[in-house]
């Protein structure tokens, strides 16, 4: 039987965006979660501020999901009827690269900053805003990756 390369590439791109960014977020949130648990064991009142910091590296996974969904719906993978030229499919795959890698690596880096931020909050609770800001600095690059992936997917001509 004939392989539909366009569809295959598009599906691979969507999967890559969701998986890589998701793995990054899982690692980042996991790191921050361990640090939070440590801080909360000393002072349960810190739970709220720690939770906010722990959440921050989680956004990359959402960005990955977003791009995956946009690719899937553009390629017609959700409705089940899909005829995609190989060029269009490969383009969609390439468009997923920024958020896949940008998301993966920035989420891990952001998780590390979040850990440091949680330790900062443990010692100086009043500096929570600064801890959050430092963590968000890393996210900038995930946001930029998201933007480029989105623009590229948007620009691919179907059919």
């Amino acid at each position: 039987m004939d392989l539909q390369w366009g569809t295959i590439f598009a599906a691979a791109g969507a999967a890559m965006a969701a998986v890589m960014a998701g793995v990054g977020s899982a690692i980042g949130v996991g790191l921050a979660g361990q640090a939070s648990a440590g801080v909360v064991s000393e002072d349960p009142d810190r739970f709220g501020s720690c939770l906010l910091l722990q959440l921050l590296p989680g956004t990359q996974g959402i960005y990955g999901l977003l791009i995956a969904f946009v690719i899937a719906s553009k390629a017609g993978l959700l409705s089940g009827v899909s005829t995609l030229s190989a060029t269009a499919g490969l383009s969609l795959f390439l468009a997923a690269i920024p958020i896949a890698f940008g998301g993966l690596l920035s989420a891990i880096a952001q998780g590390k900053v979040a850990v440091a931020g949680i330790n900062l909050v443990a010692k100086k609770p009043e500096e929570q805003g600064k801890a959050m800001l430092m963590t968000v600095m890393v996210e900038t690059y995930a946001v930029l990756s998201l933007l480029i992936s989105f623009l590229l997917v948007n620009g691919v001509k179907i059919g």
Partner: protein
């Protein structure tokens, strides 16, 4: 707006000290700074701190028995005097509680100790003799100990004169060996070759079984006592949380006063207070002191050059909540400008653009409004709640401009034909949206530069205003004008020419005058070249506003993904599954959109703050002010109502 601060020196009779500090605490306008060290006051401060600690402990033991407070419960209100009336009763209660808790802890540890003893004696329960008396013989040496069961067989090799007996089964076996006193040494050496551990019976009469029975009996009594004590703690603590919390707040008020008193300098008859207060509160300060006594000397003056007053700002009701956003970064230098009034409108504008969904804006604004209405929060949480309220309002407007409500198209919902989006659809026209973001960015950044220019002019430094600030405005605007004719058809090329001339003028100003402090023309130009490299900084600052677009689509697309998922659930052709799907989808829609609102509000809040701090404040803001900490009622559980209004009119 930065409020100017006045430095005060107050001298009055020692007898009036407490009353004056009391009055100053009630008006919450004076920060007392150190003018000397006084050991008497130190001792009083330590007493006040000890009392606070004691009540804090009481609060902890009362807490498990208190009714859980509703999340939206407002703080109780009381006069400071009412709180102080609680102190004697609360102190008595805290002493009783701490005595009970001490006894409870002692009982528990006693029970644990007995339990451990029982456990060590249990392997010996078959031992038939009195634990203290069995080894009394002068002719026989007894070895009492535990031996690994694998080594038991080796005991057969022991000297013929020695006898041994085992008392239990298991991995470690209890064992007594008896031998004539002369053989003791050789038996002892023999035992060293085995897995043998000496055991000493506890100093208790009778056989181990009897001792265990006695210990269990003791523990039964102790457990009864423990239950009784726990009941007593429960009785004493139940329903007392309001009392203890109120008294704790009174102790805090007292401690703050003692802290201030420790900063005073005293002579035989007088005390001397140094402090800061906002210039507009001078009448209040004078009134407060003169109400207590007319025998005082008060000197008020402007801060001197080398003195750093605390930084206090005062703004309109709209801007005030945004001070919290600025405070997260840093308070303004008291000699600089307060940036909050300039930042607040941009904050609202950019926040709405990042969330950009009318439905989410409505939810956010309503939640924030309810929180403010019901909880009446003050300070940081109150400020942020109001910031989010305004952000929600702005989100509603932006949602209409880009045409999304709960991730759906406005047109689909209202049945209008392509009326929405009112402005630009980021999905259809992403480049247009990007240009809008960059445009806002340029506006925001240049506004920062204009503020820096204004600051320089107000300090009389026109050179800095023109060469360091105006030059950059010319360059940025000029380069944009230069690029426009080639990007947009129909714009005359002359605009581009004007642009390049402007940019060149700006660059020339920087090249020639950036290093104006330096006489050497080569060094001057080099320093100008270095400054010109900053153009990359401006470029990256402007590109940073792309996040407005990215976060906007993140919210919108995720919302539509959630809608899509729920639509799939509801689309089953089988009726039963369809009804079930609709039910699940309803619950899921609320939960998923709730999650999306929460995570994206957090994102919008912090990314918006970042744009303000890095891109905007980076251009002109002078941070570094220290917070104003007046002698006041820093209570946590009760809002003290003595003379609350800062302005008497």
């Amino acid at each position: 707006m930065i409020v100017s601060m006045k430095r005060m020196t107050l001298v009055a009779h020692k007898d009036d000290e407490a009353a004056i500090l009391n009055a100053l605490q009630a008006i919450r306008a004076v920060e007392v700074i150190s003018s000397g060290q006084d050991y008497v006051a130190q001792a009083a401060l330590e007493r006040a701190q000890a009392r606070m600690q004691q009540l804090n402990d009481a609060m902890r033991s009362v807490k498990p028995f208190a009714k859980k407070k509703a999340f939206l419960a407002t703080l109780k209100e009381a006069q400071a005097e009412e709180l102080f009336d609680l102190l004697p009763k609360a102190t008595a209660l805290s002493e009783r509680l701490s005595a009970l808790n001490r006894e409870l802890a002692a009982t528990k540890s006693e029970i644990d100790k007995n339990e451990t003893l029982i456990n060590t004696l249990r392997p010996w329960s078959a031992f038939p003799a009195d634990m203290q008396a069995y080894a009394a013989s002068k002719r026989v040496k007894y070895f009492t100990g535990l031996i690994a069961s694998s080594d038991v067989e080796k005991l057969e090799e022991i000297d013929a004169t020695a006898e041994y007996q085992l008392f239990n089964e298991g991995v470690e076996r209890t064992c007594v060996i008896a031998c004539p006193i002369e053989e003791a040494k050789s038996v002892s050496n023999f035992l060293k070759s085995l897995a043998w551990a000496d055991f000493a019976f506890p100093k208790m009469p009778g056989t181990p079984a009897e001792a265990m029975e006695e210990l269990s009996e003791k523990n039964r009594t102790l457990t009864a006592k423990k239950v009784e004590l726990e009941g007593a703690v429960c009785d004493a603590a139940t329903g007392q949380d309001a009392l203890v919390e109120g008294a704790y707040d009174a102790a805090v008020i007292e401690r703050d006063r003692a802290l201030a008193a420790a900063e005073l300098e005293r002579s035989d008859a007088t005390f001397h207070l140094e402090g800061w207060f906002p210039a507009d509160r001078q009448a209040d300060v004078e009134k407060a002191v003169s109400k207590v006594t007319d025998a005082f000397y008060l000197d008020v003056r402007e801060p001197e050059e080398d003195e750093v007053p605390p930084s206090v700002v005062e703004n309109s009701a709209f801007v005030t909540p945004f001070e919290q956003v600025t405070n997260l970064y840093s308070r303004p230098d008291p000699k600089g400008i307060d940036a909050t009034p300039y930042m607040a409108p941009f904050y609202v504008l950019l926040f709405g653009m990042m969330l950009s969904d009318t439905g989410y804006g409505i939810v956010l604004a309503i939640l924030a409004a309810l929180f403010i209405k019901l909880k009446k929060p003050t300070g940081m949480s109150g400020g942020f709640a109001r910031v989010l309220f305004w952000g929600g309002i702005s989100t509603i407007v932006w949602g209409a401009l880009v045409g999304t409500i709960f991730g759906m198209d406005f047109d689909t919902l209202l049945g209008t034909n392509n009326l929405f989006p009112l402005f630009v659809d980021p999905m259809e026209n992403p480049i247009g949206m990007l240009i809008l973001c960059f445009g806002l960015g340029v506006l925001h950044i240049l506004f920062g530069v204009v503020l820096k220019m204004k600051l320089a002019f107000s300090r009389g430094d026109w050179q800095s205003a023109i060469f360091d600030s105006l030059s950059w405005i010319l360059i940025v605007l000029g380069l944009i004008a230069f690029a426009v004719p080639s990007a947009v058809p129909g714009i005359p090329a002359v605009i581009g020419t004007i642009g390049i001339v402007m940019a060149g003028l700006g660059a020339a100003m920087i090249l020639l005058f950036k290093g104006r402090a330096n006489k050497n023309p080569v060094m001057r130009t080099l320093s100008g070249l270095g400054e010109l490299y900053q153009v990359t900084g401006y470029l990256s600052d402007i590109l940073s506003y792309a996040r407005l677009f990215a976060l906007g689509i993140a919210t919108g697309v995720i919302a539509s993904v959630f809608n899509e998922l729920c639509k799939m659930l509801m689309g089953s052709p089988i009726l039963v599954l369809r009804i079930l799907g609709i039910l699940v989808a309803c619950v899921l829609l609320v939960a998923l959109h709730g999650f999306n609102i929460a995570i994206n509000t957090l994102g919008a809040f912090v990314h918006c703050a970042r744009l303000q701090y890095v891109e905007f404040y980076g251009k002109f803001y002078e941070p570094g002010g220290r917070a104003f900490r007046p002698l006041a009622y820093q209570t946590r559980h009760v809002r003290v109502t003595n003379q609350q209004t800062p302005n008497p009119e």
